[in-house]
């Protein structure tokens, strides 16, 4: 096995790992990896990706030097900016503007980078999103304020609890519980009129938008295994949110 083949394999798998972790569709990961390996001059390139792992194999020379490796992807987060940046690196690598070393350096930078917004901006954005949707679902203008704080609290609770719990569905349940409980508390204190809309607003930041959209896209492009597992992930998230809200409604209302 040549040194170059080993290097290209590492670069490709790193690119795939970043994309899959931060919310790219399965077909995009497979296509990117196959293109990059072909651009590096290897033949018989095959890539197989599911929601939790990537397999990549290619030949160094015709009939000789077969290589095959896999990476396991444990975390599934959402940071579409990283997906876009890896996409850009692969585009430049495929068109020959980047060498293997440069591509590796760029990918490591992307891998090490934190999310592009500070966490408090994300919480505020969650508040804005939640209050906006509470209005769109039929709340009044006065309800924007409690919905903002309730959505802020549920986003904050999600991020904080996820630092302690390994099971992500449990932390989503807890965040939904805390968010809707604070929404009920605001209405009981006289802040806000439409309790249903405020609760919905507090839950909107928890909605699994990325897995849901990717599940549809995966199923359509024929990645049935990945599509089903992503769909189940989105379904479980929705169900745990629903149970969290149901719990707080049956306790506090």
């Amino acid at each position: 096995m040549g040194a170059k083949a080993d290097k290209v394999m590492d670069v490709c798998l790193r690119a795939g790992e970043i994309m899959l972790t931060y919310g790219a569709e399965t077909y995009r990961v497979e296509e990117t990896l196959e293109r990059m390996a072909r651009a590096a001059g290897f033949t018989n390139v095959h890539c197989f990706t599911t929601t939790t792992g990537i397999f990549l194999s290619f030949e160094e020379r015709k009939g000789r030097g077969d290589l095959m490796q896999m990476v396991r992807v444990d975390d599934r987060m959402q940071d579409l900016n990283k997906v876009t940046e890896v996409n850009q690196v692969s585009r430049e690598f495929t068109s020959g503007m980047l060498t293997v070393q440069e591509a590796e350096r760029r990918l490591e930078e992307i891998y090490e980078a934190k999310i592009q917004y500070p966490i408090w901006v994300i919480h505020i954005a969650a508040g804005v999103a939640g209050s906006g949707f509470s209005y769109l679902f039929g709340g009044g203008l006065f309800d924007l304020i409690p919905a903002f704080f309730a959505a802020f609290i549920s986003s904050f609770a999600l991020v904080e609890i996820e630092g302690y719990l390994k099971v992500r569905f449990a932390s989503e349940l807890a965040a939904a519980f805390i968010g809707s409980a604070s929404a009920i508390a605001f209405v009981m204190l006289g802040l806000g009129n439409n309790i249903d809309q405020i609760i919905i607003g507090s839950l909107m930041p928890l909605v699994p938008g990325v897995p849901l959209t990717n599940a549809v896209r995966d199923l359509l492009s024929g990645d049935l295994l990945a599509g089903m597992s992503r769909g189940v992930e989105a379904l479980l998230t929705s169900l745990s949110i629903a149970s969290g809200v149901a719990l707080s409604i049956s306790i506090f209302l």
């Binding site: 919310g23 809309q197 959209t213 409604i249």
Partner: protein, 149 residues
């Protein structure tokens, strides 16, 4: 006038979601604009007397088509625009009332709302399918028989 206010609020709510999903900064406002358009298309279709599900298909189709078009122009993954674009259609309110009905033991109402939620979610997916097939036109491979062309 109400519709204008709703579109503005949708724009800001989708900006918020763009930050939550951490879409690249240069498409943040584009995503918000597409989301605002989605809400506008949905409300206009409803006002023209089209049923809820079909209106959702139309709005989702236009949003996903815009996402694919802009993604090709700007060289970015289509999901960075299509996810914010279809978010205003998410039947969050219906899903909530489904859950509420089940908690209160009104199973028939719950089932009704649940079916409506599923239909609405399916309508979003249908719109995305239409847009995807439009933008992959000419890349067909023939799925069932090898006819040799």
């Amino acid at each position: 006038m109400d519709l204008l206010l709703e579109v503005v609020i949708t724009f800001f709510a989708i900006l918020g979601f763009g930050v939550i999903f951490s879409v690249p900064k240069r498409v943040l406002f584009i995503g918000g604009a597409v989301g605002g358009w989605t809400w506008f298309a949905l409300q206009m279709s409803l006002q023209m007397g089209i049923t809820n599900v079909v209106a959702t298909v139309i709005a989702s189709f236009t949003a996903a088509a815009m996402a694919h078009f802009l993604a090709k122009k700007l060289h970015i993954p289509a999901t960075t625009i299509s996810i914010p674009g279809i978010l205003p259609l998410v039947p969050g309110s219906l899903a909530y009332f489904t859950m509420l009905a089940f908690v209160e033991g009104e199973y028939i109402t719950g089932l009704e709302n649940g079916v409506q939620t599923m239909l609405q979610a399916g309508a979003i997916a249908a719109g995305m399918v239409l847009a995807l097939s439009l933008f992959s036109f000419g890349k067909g491979i023939g799925n069932r028989y090898e006819t040799g062309n």
